[in-house]
């Protein structure tokens, strides 16, 4: 599995991009100690002009590099938490719907369709407005607007697996249906979900950026979306303030997508081999 991943060029490029970003997020307090929102230098310093502020400073004289490093952790924490939530919720609902069948399936699928028909970002807006802007409400909002994809994929996998002989065998052994579903069938249905994980993480990073760009992110945390929004006020004179965090978002999402393709290739190879 790992060998196949390594042999995929996309996957390795993605990993080489993603690892430094994760490291930067983890080591942000060490790499740039202190409050990233503190005013530390002259205002609106251009990038590469001063070695102390390699990426320049913003309107209030805050270091862009420090904000970028600290923003990485906010972005990745939200994305990882929301993706875990969405995949977890989607897997549970997809498994129950696919294995139970009948009315339960019908009801859960209507629920999934309802969530799919509501524009996810508007749902996220509504949720954040109800719960107030915080890291937790952003995570919940992204979770609730992105669990439907995983749910449908898991249900389809479970449907194709539940007629197999090994399911009947466990039934004869006297296992309860949901026990069979979650302990025996689900593990076999997981590969496509793992592939989907990268898609969900990438989407979560973009939604978080959009929410905090609109000023609906956690007010106490510096995020890339918020940096873009703050740079907007001086877009004419200092476009680099909005450009730099945007490039960080692109590189991160690109890296996640590439890693996803690598995983996809590794799993596809395994399936062909099996």
């Amino acid at each position: 599995m790992w060998r196949r991943f390594v042999s995929s060029r996309e996957g390795m490029v993605g990993l080489c991009l993603l690892l430094p970003i994760i490291l930067a997020a983890l080591l942000a307090p060490l790499l740039s100690p202190g409050d990233p929102q503190a005013m530390v230098g002259p205002a609106l310093l251009k990038p590469f002009a001063d070695a102390a502020f390699p990426l320049g400073t913003d309107r209030l004289g805050r270091s862009v590099l420090a904000a970028l490093l600290h923003g990485a952790s906010a972005s990745l924490i939200v994305a990882a938490a929301a993706a875990t939530g969405a995949l977890g919720l989607g897997t549970v609902i997809g498994t129950v719907a696919g294995f139970a069948g009948g009315r339960t399936d019908e009801a859960l699928m209507r629920l999934t369709e309802a969530f799919q028909a509501v524009p996810g970002f508007i749902l996220a807006l509504a949720l954040v407005s109800v719960l107030g802007p915080s890291l937790g409400s952003v995570v919940l909002a992204i979770t609730l607007s992105s669990w439907t994809g995983p749910a449908r994929v898991v249900r389809a996998e479970i449907l194709s697996l539940r007629g197999r002989d090994f399911v009947d065998a466990y039934r004869v052994l006297g296992m309860r249906p949901m026990q069979i579903a979650f302990r025996q069938v689900l593990p076999n249905a997981l590969p496509p979900v793992i592939t989907l994980a990268a898609v969900v993480v990438a989407a979560a990073i973009l939604v978080e950026a959009a929410l905090s760009f609109l000023g609906l992110g956690d007010p106490n945390r510096i995020t890339w979306g918020r940096m873009i929004a703050e740079g907007r006020a001086v877009l004419r004179t200092a476009p680099f303030l909005s450009a730099i965090p945007g490039i960080a978002i692109i590189v991160t999402v690109l890296a996640v997508n590439l890693v996803g393709e690598g995983i996809n290739e590794a799993l596809a190879g395994k399936r062909v081999a099996a």
């Binding site: 629920l111 309802a114 509501v118 524009p119 749902l123 807006l125 109800v130 877009l235 999402v253």
Partner: protein, 324 residues
């Protein structure tokens, strides 16, 4: 053969419970919001306890939750979406006013991303693994990773501030009412940047899908047959490979409708376009719950209708779905 209208009927039948779930779900969700319409209404002016109680009674907010939910659902049946506190107008009017601009922006973005995306997809997929294919694939991956609002801001810097080719924002030139063709051209000129910002992200999606479909189609038997018949490469690419690769792209068009509507919220805010998306943001910042509910429902109906249209187009292109 099942006629197309049977599919339409079945789809609409499914839409009823979906809309009911969305209506009840979002009503319950927004009920959890701190403060009610009276608080929002009086937040600017203030008012004594007597006025608050009087308004609550007038607007029916003193009744139980179940009564209010039932009366809301019943009024939805008569297409009454309630009263917008922020705009002091019926929600339906406010939403319909703004819907046009959003539909315009979305159609322009879809037209751009779909046509350019499939064309570039054909260019990439007609010779898989060539340098042209590699270049386009990497470019599309990078675009697909970009936030639409950021692309919009960067386009404003380049094409509106530096080059002054296009306006900074808005949907039409203010203060100069134009008529007829001149107005149409003015709106089109204003839409170029926002539609590109919204559309470029999805362009990548269609490009990749089209390319993947074409790579798949090259391996199929009918392409080998076409080659054996001695058809030109050009004809094989367009008539045999591209045509079959188009089907999954059409499906994606419907699947992306909801995402695109969400994307237009931010793009409309960047370009100051008075559309449904910016209205949603305004409803959130002004705590206008009935308006937000109306927007969620209108957006849902829009997504359902778009998917229905896509299904019908698909049935036209691939009659196989009508059998079975």
């Amino acid at each position: 053969m099942i006629p197309v209208w049977r599919i339409v009927g079945r789809r609409l039948g499914n839409a009823v419970p979906v809309l009911l779930i969305v209506a009840i779900g979002s009503y319950c969700l927004l009920e959890l919001a701190p403060g009610d319409a009276v608080d929002a209404y009086l937040s600017g002016s203030g008012g004594d306890a007597g006025l608050v109680a009087q308004l609550r009674q007038q607007w029916g907010l003193d009744r139980s939750f179940a009564t209010r939910l039932t009366s809301y659902l019943l009024s939805l049946l008569t297409l009454d979406f309630g009263w917008s506190v922020a705009f002091s107008r019926p929600v339906r009017e406010v939403v319909l006013d703004r819907m046009g601009n959003t539909l315009l922006l979305m159609s322009a973005a879809v037209a751009l991303s779909f046509s350019l995306g499939t064309l570039l997809g054909v260019a990439a997929g007609s010779r898989p693994q060539s340098w042209r294919d590699r270049l386009l694939s990497w470019l599309s991956l990078a675009l697909y990773a970009a936030p639409g609002f950021w692309l919009g801001l960067m386009m404003i810097v380049a094409f509106a501030v530096k080059l002054s080719w296009f306006p900074l924002g808005g949907i039409a030139t203010i203060g100069e009412p134009r008529a007829g063709l001149e107005h149409v051209l003015d709106v089109a000129w204003h839409l170029v940047l926002p539609a590109s910002a919204l559309g470029l992200v999805y362009l990548a999606l269609y490009l990749r899908l089209m390319r993947a479909g074409m790579v798949e189609a090259w391996r199929s038997d009918y392409v080998r047959t076409a080659r054996a018949k001695g058809l030109t490469r050009q004809r094989i690419v367009w008539r045999h490979v591209a045509r079959n690769a188009l089907l999954p792209v059409i499906t994606m068009l419907g699947l992306q409708a909801a995402a695109m509507l969400g994307g237009s919220v931010v793009v409309e805010s960047v370009f100051a376009i008075p559309g449904l998306g910016r209205l949603a943001f305004e409803a959130v910042t002004q705590r206008d719950v009935p308006l937000l509910l109306g927007i969620v429902l209108a957006g849902t109906v829009l997504v359902i209708v778009i998917n229905l249209l896509v299904d019908m187009a698909y049935a036209k292109l691939d009659p196989r779905v009508l059998v079975s």
